[in-house]
């Protein structure tokens, strides 16, 4: 039976799990890049939103590995999103890779309990991304990693990096955000100008509006249209999108630019450093000021004031200047981030022993 959100009961045919994001109350969006699809799944997510929690879960990867019955090295956390209604943290996790790989959506309670979202007999709807790169598309995008769980060692100049070369199909969706009835989806398409920003109405309508993106890449010294956004967030009362890219330009888009189909040029406002892939992004308010945090594979966690983004002139020259000022924060090994509630930001962190920990931090301390 279909309801007004267009959901049907059934079992999900998910091949892979990637980025996730919360939508209207009780709806979790899950990107399945192998299927070039996005699922909207109804989650039973009752909780107490009135009380603001803080979270401290040690050895999250051990918790997940023991629950899934695999070694820690076979746990790959692909997405993280906090439910605004319950403050529970949802994780999209691949257990193993290749033919033995399985998908799971896990829920970490505020007290650190783990449970799994059933993908059988749930209410869901599905949108297929029609312009996704075919699985035979051999184009690849480099992703630099923290740690050595995945990937291979390569040398760029004298420096060794751990990298994965993602086929374009697998980066069809790199990040998602839900705003006012629309799911915003960054990623790669099958076009030559591959970097794309899609707008999917929800309830799904079977179509999306797409913009190809162009940005000035400071460390590469040229305009680029192929590499996709890695992470993005809305800020400035949802009037702007701030996005990060590999090697590591930070780009400001006006939401007004995304009103029709076509090519959109972003305004590069910061260069955070070459030889780096941004891993996560979150925006938050503190004392009436809005900030973003960017976590990085090869640089510390960085904090940028959004008012500086708005006043920054576009960067159009290679290397210098670096654009808006940024502040390095001491938080170790930050991977993904989200808002836990109005006053806490949650971070998935890898400590020096290689354990993953989930921690929330008061925005007053950031």
């Amino acid at each position: 039976m279909t309801d007004d959100l267009g959901l049907n009961a059934g079992s999900l045919d998910i091949k892979s799990v990637g980025p996730i994001a919360f939508g209207p109350p009780g709806i979790l969006f899950v990107a399945d890049n192998a299927n070039a699809s996005i699922f909207a799944i109804e989650v039973d997510d009752s909780g107490d939103a009135s009380q603001e929690h803080s979270v401290k879960v040690d050895k999250l990867d051990t918790l997940i590995a023991s629950h899934l019955g695999c070694p820690r090295s076979e746990v790959f956390i692909r997405g993280m999103a906090v439910s605004p209604s319950s403050q529970q943290t949802y994780l999209s996790v691949m257990r193993g890779s290749g033919d033995e790989g399985s998908s799971a959506i896990l829920r970490i309670g505020v007290a650190g309990t783990i449970s799994e979202l059933s993908l059988d007999n749930v209410r869901f709807s599905k949108e297929t991304i029609s312009d996704a790169a075919d699985s035979s598309d051999e184009r690849k995008e480099v992703r630099l990693l923290r740690g050595e769980r995945e990937g291979e060692d390569v040398y760029f100049g004298q420096n060794k990096y751990r990298v994965v070369y993602d086929k374009y199909r697998t980066i069809t969706v790199t990040d998602m955000s839900f705003v006012d009835g629309t799911l915003l989806v960054a990623g790669a398409s099958n076009e030559e100008f591959s970097s794309t920003f899609r707008r999917l109405e929800f309830p799904f309508k079977g179509s999306s509006k797409n913009n190809s993106l162009e940005i000035y890449h400071v460390s590469h010294g040229k305009y680029e249209t192929a590499s996709p956004i890695r992470n993005f967030r809305l800020y400035n009362q949802k009037k702007n999108v701030v996005a990060s890219y590999t090697c590591t330009p930070v780009v400001n888009f006006s939401v007004d630019d995304f009103t029709s189909d076509g090519h959109v040029k972003g305004k590069t406002v910061a260069e955070l450093g070459s030889g780096n892939t941004p891993l996560g992004m979150v925006s938050y308010l503190h004392d009436g000021e809005e900030y973003i945090l960017v976590s990085n594979s090869h640089y510390p966690l960085m904090k940028i004031a959004c008012k500086d983004i708005n006043s920054q002139d576009e960067l159009t020259e290679p290397k210098e200047p670096l654009g808006v000022k940024r502040e390095n924060l001491p938080h170790e090994g930050v991977l993904q981030m989200d808002n836990l509630n109005g006053s806490e930001v949650i971070m998935l962190q890898e400590d020096s022993s290689g354990n993953f920990n989930l921690r929330s931090y008061s925005t007053a301390t950031l």
Partner: protein, 369 residues
């Protein structure tokens, strides 16, 4: 650690998420049958063995594997939410003494073998497919039903003495990379040419790779892995008698031709005077009509590589047809239409031929009926 019980852990053969725990006494199993589902699942746990120590010490970050226990006959099954992983060691833990309700822990461990799904690739054939090979045989082919892995040829394909099964060493020329066709389903193995050509040092020192008059066998071991890393369905053993060396050019005037009737789908057939190279036969013979158009159809080679047939897609018409023969078509000893592989420089009959065009012209016969 209390090890009174003699429990056995068994992987299911056909269910990748099922582990069976057997060996319970009648008293134990009766007690277990009396437990509720939740009691059953709180008494027993399955864990990765690497997490046993922290689990027994109450480390909150370690959880039992997601799944459920069920009683079946005199055994307990654990049905895991996810398939068990190859090469991982798992442990079954009893947290509660099922006889005396005393809280104790015991565990039993089992490693998940590096299991793969059943083999599906088979050997389609070893060529030459006849039973006799010349002393100076140049190459063999192995045809597989699916794409194969590289790096297994040297240890998995051998010439053996047919009576003792002993491996005959150093027959093949070591090849790196191995010789595969584009689809990586046809492997070519060359016998060491240095031992085949008279007058070369290896031939003079160690002689031919094979000996005339003996029975040999080519064996392909089933551990030759396909591109998915799986073994073959089965290995193969193909026996040959080693005959005399063959040192004559291939000459198509000695071939026997069977000419089809006009307005028929009859095959055009050639009987060779000796077996020819299976791999080269696949694309060395073509027929064109008087307009210069290739005759389309299905060609095949009989077992023994002694004959070749073409069944046309369209009926034969009144025309001057021409069979065009690739001058590089070889017999089993590498002799082609233009050269003898191991030529006798004293013998002018063995001199290479400059002419590169070999053909046979025919008209289809009138249908007698």
């Amino acid at each position: 650690m209390n090890l009174r019980r003699q429990l056995l852990l068994d992987w299911s053969v056909d269910q990748s998420n099922l582990l069976t725990i057997r060996g319970w006494t009648g008293k134990e199993i009766n007690h277990i049958r009396g437990l509720s589902d939740s009691e059953l699942n709180s008494s027993f746990s399955l864990l990765l063995t690497e997490f046993i120590e922290p689990f027994l010490h109450g480390d909150d970050s370690v959880q039992p594997i997601s799944g459920s226990f069920q009683i079946e006959g005199d055994s307990i099954n654990f049905i895991s939410r996810f398939n068990f992983m190859s090469g991982v060691n798992y442990s079954f833990v009893i947290k509660e003494d099922v006889e005396n309700k005393q809280f104790e822990t015991e565990f039993w461990s089992i490693e998940r073998p590096l299991m793969r799904s059943a083999p599906s690739t088979s050997i389609l054939g070893v060529y030459p497919s006849g039973s006799e090979i010349p002393l100076n045989l140049l190459k063999i082919y192995v045809y597989f039903s699916s794409k194969m892995s590289e790096g297994f040829a040297a240890r998995n394909v051998q010439f053996r003495d047919a009576s003792t099964s002993q491996v005959i060493p150093d027959v093949f020329l070591p090849m790196d990379p191995e010789l595969w066709d584009e689809s990586r389903t046809r492997l070519t193995l060359l016998l060491d040419p240095g031992r085949i050509k008279r007058g070369l040092v290896p031939n003079m020192e160690t002689g031919y790779p094979l000996n005339e008059g003996v029975s040999v066998a080519v064996t392909v071991d089933k551990t030759f892995q396909d591109s998915t890393g799986r073994n073959l369905v089965d290995g193969i053993q193909k026996e040959f008698n080693v005959g005399k060396a063959l040192r004559l050019k291939v000459n198509h005037i000695f071939w026997k031709y069977t000419i089809p009737s006009i307005d028929s789908f009859e095959p055009f057939s050639i009987n060779f005077d000796r077996p020819l190279d299976r791999g080269l036969l696949e694309n060395s013979l073509k027929i064109v009509d008087s307009q210069g158009q290739y005759v389309q159809g299905e060609s095949f080679v009989d077992i023994g590589e002694h004959s070749w047939h073409l069944i046309p897609k369209y009926k034969w018409i009144t025309s001057d047809y021409q069979l065009i023969i690739n001058p590089l078509l070889e017999d089993l000893a590498g002799n082609s239409l233009i050269r003898v592989f191991d030529r006798d420089v004293e013998n002018s009959n063995d001199d290479p031929i400059e002419n590169n065009e070999f053909s046979y012209t025919f008209k289809c016969v009138e249908n007698s009926s």
